[in-house]
């Protein structure tokens, strides 16, 4: 499992990167592996409001659909439309395949660093 040290992680398996005033959000390697081959993604529109813990997108595999939850409250500034044409990039490059960039972030949930997230994933895997 790949867990870059420069990112923060949520308990619902999103990763967060803050850079240049924008907060980039995607899903982790652990998440993409658990979800299997992704075939489509439903994305929000720029300008939509984000709230901590609420779904802002969903991803489809052949037999399932899964919500993606926002680790922050704020506004959607940019959307990665290229995922619409190549949802497989979420599987092949989860940390490159960002979903959205958020601005005006007013709240952020308690996020984990890479080490804590890896431990969290191990626990999750053991529960299964």
């Amino acid at each position: 499992m790949n867990t870059p040290g420069n990112l923060k992680y949520s308990k619902t398996h999103e990763w967060v990167k803050t850079e240049g005033g924008l907060t980039e959000i995607g899903i982790t390697d652990f998440a993409q592996d658990a979800l299997g081959d992704l075939v489509f993604v439903n994305l929000p529109e720029a300008g939509d409001t984000l709230s901590v813990g609420e779904a802002f997108a969903d991803v489809e595999s052949v037999k399932a659909v899964s919500d993606i939850y926002s680790p922050v409250s704020g506004t959607v500034a940019e959307v990665n439309d290229s995922l619409l044409d190549s949802p497989e990039s979420i599987n092949s490059d989860p940390y490159g395949a960002w979903f959205i960039r958020a601005s005006d972030v007013t709240a952020t949930e308690d996020l984990m660093d890479a080490e804590a997230y890896e431990a969290f994933c191990e626990e999750e895997a053991a529960k299964e």
Binding site: D37, V39, F40, E60, V62, K63, P87, E88
Partner: protein
Amino acid sequence: MKTVFEWGAPGRRCTILPALDVEEQLPEAPLRDAAPRLPEMSETEVSRHYTELAGQVFGVNNGFYPLGSCTMKYNPSVNEEMARLPGFTGVHPLQEDETVQGCLSVLRTAEEYLCEVTGMDAVTFQPAAGAHGEFTGLLLIKSYHTERGDLKRTKMIVPDSAHGTNPATATMCGYDVVNLASGADGLVDLEALRAAVGEDTAGLMLTNPNTCGLFEKDILEITKIIHEAGGLVYYDGANLNGIIGVARPGDMGFDCVHMNLHKTFSTPHGGGGPGSGPVGCKEFLAKYLPGHRVTGDTGALRRERAEQCLGDMRAFDGNFLVVVRALTYLLMLGKEGLPEISKNAVLNANYMMSQLKDVYPMAFDDNVYHEFVITMEQSVKRGGVSAMDIAKTLLDHGMHPPTMYFPLIVHEALMVEPTETESKETLDEVIRVMKEIHEEAQRDPESIKASPKKAPIGRPDEVTAARNPIIRYRFGEETN
């Protein structure tokens, strides 16, 4: 197989129509630039193409089809003969009532039978399928609350074992779905239900026997809890085959029901439709029923709108020719034949389960009704074969597999519904095959995982199909 577009040649045709006997006159409006690219075929080719396709279709009249929750029983031939009578097929839906007394008799008689079977007071035949019936039933409930001005009832309770159509239907009716977690016994958890109801409860949608094949033994308490909270209870008739003639939803406290004529009442599924999903309700809801009610006396039957008719679910009076088939079946079986359905459906399921439970782990291994659920969870955890692998191996034995991966509350589920129209020797053969597959799965799991081997195609690549959808034939000049 060639597609229909690869058959024929320019200029080939069937000779169907006579020459035009009046002056040609086209509409005075823009016409299409180019003809649609339909095949140009002789009748020989049309017949051969579709016969070839039929060779790669498996119907219940071809063989055993234990698709759980789908009630794939044998479709009697007489039903088809009756549905093809010119006295039924040649009738326009907007003919005057006095010229369609036979059709109205069919609807009236079928309504009487279905009311008696479900314990309801009125039935509409307008819904075209089960999901369409659910939509109708929930709109009845919505009409009831709306008329009373009880607009705070915004929540519909749906057990997590329910068919996906239940929550989807609730959303279509504007309700927020409250997912009710089932108890470990696969039944509605009464405490959880009590905690879920309130002033905002519009109703509960329930399948009984439920999708685990179990009868909700606390059904009277369940319906009482909902009614006391001011909600109504909807019966999803998907599993009516398990209790028909033995117990009735109307006596259990349900306020409205849908039935699937294409499940319980032996009409063919047609590869996915047409079905028919009539909805029955108690008297207090009958005034909202959609479409027409058949009223009046024999010989002078009429179509009339109910007093506060909620509208129309579709045009005209439903999938009439499907109702003709179902009525044929109802008339033939009658009072003694109908209870024989559920008794033998439940017997066949219990018999099969009793012979298989030593080798296949059952999600619930007692008091099952017309279907039972195998779980391959342990096998998968050990790295062994999955529910999918078993299903695909059954294809190689000329059998349609059970329903896979449903209900969602059972992991690696295989849901088996043998129905009452299968013989003991068919069941014995299936039991033998399933035991053989189990043995092979222990000995050589990789072989099972590679199945099917004898079907016309191997397992299809569904990921590519969904990522790059090709949903129509690409004619020569197009590339993807």
